[in-house]
């Protein structure tokens, strides 16, 4: 239910900001794109709208903050929170002797992080006495109204109405403060109104995640600092990728240059390439255990096939006219390898390396989810078992940032090292 409301809010912000920015504020633009009469279907006319990107990110944080009651989001933007404070409702009970009496129940609904004591209430008149109890916000509590009444269950104490509305076992009555239900045995159950905000164990507010980040960055988590967790994951990726490239690139070259190698390894490479590395985790654990070796082997396998295929297509993709030109300029086989085939394959190898790094990063997190003592995946897995959702969220965000950083770094290296890519 809350999900649908969030979706609706999101769509409303999307459409509203589009209307405001594109229709009202930007007016007529006079750049080259605006001079084109054909923009639909012209890929070059579509560039990322900076304002849309900024609003998109701000929207995510706003919605996150608004639906978690974040202190960083102004109060008027908050979604209705859970009811906190004193709730009251009245019940009417009937005893065996046919008499009916009413009394008031006062429930102190308190934030779950705080202790609370039931408020003092005046017992009131009649055989049914006023009750008081405490319930945590987002929780529910059984209210044994008959406990302090003069005619208890042994005399047939039965609640027949709440706030004047009749109630029966299994039924419920909605009050201003929440829902009052009745169990099959006739005990009242008070569920304070939950509002639309998410409870911290489902979705902590952004400041809680940041606070966790600061805590863990200074104190560590489970005996390792944050940098050790993240650094270990990165280290595994780099080591696995390094070995994968070390074996995969020469293998790919051999497959691109020799029909025997091609014939021998093609079935293996083509079969292993579509096997998701995650599917190999159980086998790797059986063979190599859950220690470092197993993870390096897994990442090696994840990178190997990608690098082999990239190197192979880099070699096969060389234009025959370049090779012919080199031959008729007097180059030897070895010189053609060194000066034509290798440089020509570098763009493909870089593309492969970028894919392989991405796959390795995903695989290492998954492998650490399964079993590890240290690592980004282990951190979020361990935290999830203790419902430390803030750590889980923090971990996911850090994993995302690092993955994005790796990709940016690879793109940068590609621009610097193989500027001729795609310009043959």
């Amino acid at each position: 239910m809350t999900g649908l409301i969030i979706l609706a809010v999101y769509i409303a912000i999307f459409a509203g900001s589009y209307f405001i920015i594109m229709r009202l504020l930007s007016g007529r633009r006079s750049d080259f794109t605006s001079l084109k009469t054909v923009t639909f279907g012209d890929e070059s006319a579509v560039v990322s709208n900076r304002a849309a990107s900024v609003i998109s990110i701000v929207t995510i944080f706003l919605i996150w903050g608004a639906f978690t009651g974040s202190k960083w989001v102004p109060g008027f933007l908050h979604a209705p929170g859970p009811f906190v404070g004193e709730a009251q409702f009245e019940y009417t009970a009937r005893a065996d002797d046919g008499t009916e009496d009413s009394a008031t129940v006062t429930v102190l609904v308190h934030p779950i992080s705080e202790e609370a004591t039931a408020p003092e209430v005046d017992p009131g008149d009649g055989w049914a006495k006023n009750d008081s109890d405490t319930v945590g916000a987002w929780r529910s509590g059984l209210i044994r109204v008959d406990r302090n009444d003069e005619k208890g269950r042994d005399q047939g104490h039965t609640v027949i109405a709440v706030n004047g509305e009749p109630i029966a076992p299994g039924g419920e009555v909605n009050t201003r403060f929440g829902r009052v239900g009745m169990s099959q045995k006739g005990t009242l159950n008070f569920v304070p109104a939950k509002g639309l905000q998410m409870e911290a164990i489902w979705l902590p507010p952004p400041e809680a995640v940041v606070k966790r980040l600061v805590d863990i960055a200074s104190e560590g988590y489970r005996g390792f600092t944050l940098w050790e967790h993240l650094g270990m994951s990165l280290y595994r990726v780099l080591l696995g990728f390094f070995f994968g490239a070390l074996v995969g690139v020469p293998l790919g070259y051999a497959m691109g240059l020799s029909d025997w190698f091609r014939g021998w390894f093609d079935p293996i490479v083509e079969f292993m390439r579509p096997v998701p590395p995650l599917a190999l985790i159980p086998l790797v654990i059986i063979w190599a255990g859950i220690g470092e070796n197993g993870k390096i082997i897994l990442l090696f396998l994840a990178a190997l096939w990608i690098m082999a295929i990239a190197a192979r297509s880099g070699v096969s993709g060389v234009r025959i006219s370049k090779v012919h030109a080199a031959y008729s300029l007097g180059a030897s086989k070895w010189q053609i390898m060194r000066h034509v085939i290798v440089p020509n394959s570098l763009p493909d190898i870089f593309t492969g390396a970028r894919v392989a790094m991405g796959v390795c990063w995903g695989t290492v997190v998954a492998a650490e989810l399964v079993a590890a003592e240290v690592g980004a995946g282990m951190m979020i897995m361990a935290a999830s078992k203790f419902q430390q959702t803030d750590i889980v969220l923090m971990g996911i965000i850090l994993i995302g940032i690092i993955g994005f950083g790796i990709d940016m770094l690879m793109r940068w290296a590609e621009r610097v090292l193989v500027p001729w890519k795609g310009k043959g």
Binding site: R319, S321, K322, H324, A325, A326, Y327, S328, L329, G330, A331, S332, Q335, H339, V340, P343, N344, L346, V418, P419, W420, K423, G424
Partner: protein, 268 residues
């Protein structure tokens, strides 16, 4: 015995379905050193196959090729090739491309630098020598290809439609350049083209080939290349012999194309 000699060259390609295609049949040809020959013919007449055989990229099924008395058995620096496009090394600068041949021979920079600089001057790329290949226009790239070939000082230069992808104006300038380089260097040049005008302008000798099987149909000896060395190519095009030869060759190729079409229709 100096010069390039092709003796009864035949080439047959085996097809995967068991059949075979006769790409060339009994091609015999002699070129003296310093001769400039253009080769013309309808598509599929085996022009490029012939060039690849002379370059040594393909071995003929029958016949043999000799250059200056020794048999051609594979690609070699004595036979340079200029390709239509895409044969430059885009990971090297213009200068590194031009000096590729000498460098592969293990020559020191001091030995080739002067010649490479001179060639860059000749093709007008001195200011672009440190640029990357992909920063150059198509015409400039072909000038690099020419310079690269010449820097290696081959005896024979083979050109496979080197100007085919250029626009008309650039093409005309390049044609003058080719003539100028031919006269200056005295190289033997075989130039394949599908433009009759280009074949007339850039052929001391002009070879018309016929298809299926690829063979020599007719050979001309023309004065236009010699005239073009010192004259405006556009003036030569006004020469009465130029126009009449052009019409004759165009008619010849037209008839061949008609015949191919007819044969294809009959086969269907």
């Amino acid at each position: 015995m100096s010069g390039l000699a092709l003796n009864n060259i035949s080439m047959r390609f085996d097809l995967p379905n068991g059949g075979s295609v006769q790409a060339l049949k009994d091609v015999t040809l002699n070129l003296a050193p310093g001769e400039l020959m253009s080769v013309l013919g309808p598509s599929g007449c085996g022009k490029t196959t012939l060039l690849n055989i002379v370059a040594g990229f393909l071995a003929p099924t029958e016949g043999e090729i000799t250059l200056n008395g020794h048999r051609v058995l594979g690609p070699d620096a004595e036979r340079g090739m200029v390709f239509q496009q895409g044969a430059l090394f885009e990971w090297m600068s213009v200068r590194d491309n031009v000096s590729f041949g000498p460098r592969m021979k293990g020559q020191r920079e001091s030995k080739w630098a002067g010649n490479v600089d001179h060639l860059l001057d000749v093709v007008g790329l001195q200011d672009f020598k440190e640029k990357a290949i992909y920063e150059l226009s198509g015409g400039m790239q072909q000038r690099v290809a020419l310079a690269r070939c010449l820097a290696n000082d081959p005896d024979v230069i083979l050109m496979d439609e080197p100007l085919g992808a250029l626009d008309a104006l650039t093409r005309e300038k390049m044609q003058s350049l080719v003539l100028k380089l031919w006269k200056e260097t005295g190289k033997t040049i075989i130039l394949i083209t599908h433009s009759v005008e280009e074949a007339l302008l850039l052929g001391e000798r002009l070879l018309v080939m016929a298809p299926r099987p690829g063979r020599i149909h007719k050979e001309y000896r023309l004065p236009f290349a010699d005239m073009g060395v010192n004259a405006d190519l556009r003036e030569i095009k006004k020469h009465p012999d130029y126009a009449s030869t052009r019409e004759e060759i165009l008619g010849m190729i037209w008839d061949m194309e008609e015949e191919i079409m007819g044969r294809t229709e009959a086969a269907q």
